[in-house]
């Protein structure tokens, strides 16, 4: 259960356990998961794919469940929809603002000598592409 030990999402969403999702699917509880909020917690860091000693990919299982949920017209949790909307709008889950230092001071990227975050050059074109690769299936975004 290395996946659940190191999962980035599990550190934030306590209910989210990649190994448990795989075990539930194997045991035939897919329906339960498709209708559950828990499958939307994955942050796609792919650590579970990288370190699984059995070459199981919990990430792919979760993505399959999400696709099935969308196909059935199930609405994802609000937070996920908001993130999707933001991507279509500005190209980011959240617009980069500032960085917090260890002493809780706000510092900008330029102050740290970091380059500007790359942004979609043509936001309209970007929007079209994002929609065509699957976002269009999410009613709330369209």
């Amino acid at each position: 259960m290395k996946c659940s030990s190191g999962c980035t999402a599990a550190k934030v969403v306590d209910k989210y356990r990649p190994h448990e999702i795989v075990a539930l699917v194997k045991a035939g509880y897919s329906e339960e998961l498709i209708n559950s909020d828990v499958i939307w917690a994955c942050s796609v860091c792919l650590k579970c794919v990288e370190y699984c000693p059995q070459r199981v990919s919990p990430f792919e299982v979760v993505m399959t469940l999400r696709n099935e949920a969308i196909t059935r017209g199930i609405t994802p949790p609000k937070s996920f929809v908001e993130m999707a909307k933001s991507i279509v709008k500005v190209g980011y889950i959240q617009e980069p603002m500032y960085i917090m230092s260890k002493e809780f001071e706000e510092v900008s990227r330029t102050e740290l000598g970091l380059p500007e975050m790359p942004k979609p050059k043509d936001i309209e074109k970007f929007k079209q592409h994002v929609l065509s690769v699957g976002f269009e299936r999410l009613r709330e975004v369209v």
């Binding site: 259960m1 290395k2 659940s4 030990s5 999962c7 370190y51 699984c52 000693p53 070459r55």
Partner: protein, 659 residues
């Protein structure tokens, strides 16, 4: 059989209970076979391999004056030797026998097509008849076995096997690449599950083997060449120079005391230091030091010579050269053991070698050992402080599709033992054992687990960490999901012990190459049969002992070493081996000396020789030939033929099958 004699064939079709008879119409096979020219008798019987079945063959040979016998039954791998012996009892050469496989190749795979299966059985029998007509008697030769054994590897497996062979009265040469025998077992502090001191049970055997009149010890020696075959191996050893005259050295240790230069101690897995001239460990056998030229100032800069100056017996010899030793032996035991999986390189996520306080189980053994780098006190490497919180991680690299697919078979109990080490040395310490499954299959292992599980300060966490990290203060921490409590716990241990997976010892690959013995997909030596012939290899006369065959704990290693020794003893005390007659034979008149066959031979059995008339021809060394048939298949002129499977015989079978 006399040349030109009439061919008289007996055909016997076996029912194999119902294995064959329930699918193949055996009566019809008999009927068809009896119509074929040269077939004198054709019969069916319930079990041809039974005593009455065999007797039927013996009687018929005499009564009907048969000179060829065919049994249509199971695979020749199963019962060919049985029937060959029956044919021999009947007074015929055992190679005038042919087997038609109508079970594995027919009834078992065509269960649902009975009529077609019967047709196929008839064809297979007719093909066997066609080949039988062309069979020639073959000769088995007896080759003398040299009553001397070579044991490669001086760990517990090699020591035990050497002692068993020596005690049976045979000469043994024990070769060890390190300066002392003892192997990995000498590194351990205690052995599970009884917790007896490893050195205390090993050193008496080390001394016994070194003093045994039948044993010649070759330490600091590598095997560089092996030639020949079962009964007659020619072995080349290379003795590395110690730069200490073994005949003069008394093992007093003055040189070690006086040497001003140090290097990491390999025996302590690099944790402590040793001198440039050093004993591998205090109980080393033989107790003769060795100079590490990489760290010796005399070899590096040409000065110092402190050891030479202070040696009371003038044993230091800077001019010692590598020495070649040649041996002839009848049997070889491979006991090269294991090495640790390179976790630092393969699994950087665990931070081994990056964080000082992440160590391996074998390193902890050295830390706990009274002769180790900390004189038996558990102190963590980073600051020399006593750790109060220790995490032990099992299955590091083992049982992992991306690393080692197999179980190391001692990591669990070693980890449990390591938890015991910590709480017995530091009673107020907390120990966390992170496991995937606990496998305590050996005798007394589960009881030992039970004992340690009951310690209040040892906790078992069912889950493995994904990564081990360092925080800003330099402390190490990791998250681990515990399936028993369904919670992710964050541990901040002072010391992490990784129970690493194991791989074959680095020297094994080279030895396997010179021996041409088969290696399994896991990299370990492949046994001839996983259940029934676990100590034999693909090379006759070469036997396996211990972790060279696969991960093993000490009890299993010792048991297998005894089994390997008894196999070698059986071979040497019989005194001879019978050659397989299915070897390649070259017709020198047809051979053009093109040499195509020579590099194709996997067993180095073919050489090109000049005949008296100056013509070059291929020559087969029958003692090395395994009868694989590669040369016969490759020969453009048909000069190379495999006896018992000649082109003529095989083509005749094909013609019959195609008819």
């Amino acid at each position: 059989m006399v040349e030109g004699e009439e061919i008289r064939i007996g055909v016997y079709v076996c029912h194999c209970g119902i294995n064959i008879a329930s699918v193949v119409d055996v009566k019809k096979v008999v009927e068809e076979a009896s119509k074929v020219p040269n077939v004198v008798v054709a019969k069916d019987y319930q079990f041809m391999c039974s005593q009455p079945g065999q007797n039927m063959i013996v009687e018929d040979i005499k009564q009907h004056n048969l000179n060829r016998v065919i049994v249509a039954a199971c695979s020749p791998r199963m019962h060919e030797p049985t029937f060959q012996k029956a044919v021999e009892r009947g007074g015929l050469n055992p190679y005038l026998f042919e087997m038609a496989n109508i079970r594995e190749h027919c009834s078992w795979v065509h269960e649902k097509e009975k009529a077609a299966a019967t047709d196929k059985a008839i064809k297979l029998v007719k093909a066997a008849i066609a080949k039988a007509r062309l069979l020639k008697p073959l000769k088995v030769e007896k080759v003398k076995v040299i009553p001397r054994a070579l044991v490669i590897g001086g760990g517990i497996a090699g020591i035990r096997a050497s002692l068993d062979i020596a005690n049976a009265g045979f000469e043994v040469h024990l070769v060890e690449t390190r300066p002392s025998i003892g192997g990995n077992m000498a590194r351990l502090d205690k052995t599970f599950p009884t917790l007896d001191c490893s050195q205390c049970i090993l050193t008496p055997l080390m001394v016994e083997v070194s003093k045994h009149p039948n044993v010649t010890l070759h330490t600091y020696t590598d095997v560089v060449g092996i030639d020949g075959s079962v009964g007659n191996f020619k072995v080349k050893l290379l003795k590395k120079p110690r730069y200490v005259d073994e005949s003069k050295c008394t093992g007093c240790g003055t040189c070690v005391l006086k040497c001003p230069w140090t290097a990491p101690n390999e025996f302590d897995m690099g944790l402590g230091k040793r001198k440039a001239i050093y004993f591998e460990f205090p109980q080393a056998v033989p107790l003769i030091p060795v100079i590490d030229t990489g760290h010796c100032m005399y070899f590096q800069k040409g000065t110092c010579r402190a050891c030479e100056r202070f040696c009371p017996t003038k044993a230091i010899d800077f001019n010692q050269k590598p020495k070649e030793i040649e041996l002839e032996v009848g049997a070889i035991i491979l006991a090269t053991g294991y090495g640790l999986y390179d976790v630092a390189k393969a699994m950087p996520e665990y931070g081994y070698r990056k964080y000082k306080d992440v160590i391996t189980g074998l390193e902890l053994e050295r830390v706990v050992s009274a002769t180790g780098p900390t004189k038996g006190h558990i102190l963590r490497p980073s600051d020399g402080k006593e750790p109060k919180k220790v995490a032990i991680v099992l299955c590091v690299g083992s049982r992992d599709e991306k690393h080692l697919r197999f179980c190391c078979r001692f990591g669990c109990v070693a980890g449990i033992k390591h938890a015991y080490y910590v709480v017995s040395h530091i009673p107020d310490a907390e120990v966390y054992v992170c496991y995937r499954d606990i496998r305590t299959f050996g005798k007394g292992y589960e009881e030992f687990y039970e004992r340690v599980r009951n310690y209040e300060n040892v906790r078992f966490i069912r889950g493995s960490p994904m990564e081990i990290l360092q925080d800003a203060d330099g402390g190490i921490y990791f998250d681990v999901f515990d399936a028993n409590t369904n919670r992710v716990v964050t541990l901040r241990p002072d010391l992490v012990v990784l129970e690493t997976g194991i791989v074959p010892h680095p020297t094994f690959k080279e030895v396997a190459k010179v021996l041409k013995c088969a290696i399994g997909p896991d990299g370990f030596a492949l046994e001839l049969h996983p259940k029934l012939r676990p100590t034999e290899t693909s090379v006759d006369g070469v036997f396996l002992a211990g972790a060279v065959q696969g991960p093993k704990d000490i009890p299993d290693t010792v048991a297998q070493a005894g089994a390997a020794a008894s196999s070698a003893i059986a071979l040497m005390s019989r005194g001879y081996v019978e050659t397989v007659p299915y070897v390649s034979s070259v017709n020198e008149d047809l051979c053009s000396g093109c040499g195509i066959c020579q590099p194709l031979c996997a067993f180095d059995a073919i050489s090109l020789v000049k005949k008296e008339d100056g013509k070059e021809v291929a020559k087969v060394d029958v003692s090395k030939c395994k009868g694989c048939g590669v040369c016969a298949a490759a020969c453009p002129s048909g000069a190379a033929q495999q006896l018992g499977f000649s082109d003529g015989q095989i083509l005749e079978m094909v013609r019959t099958l195609a008819r």
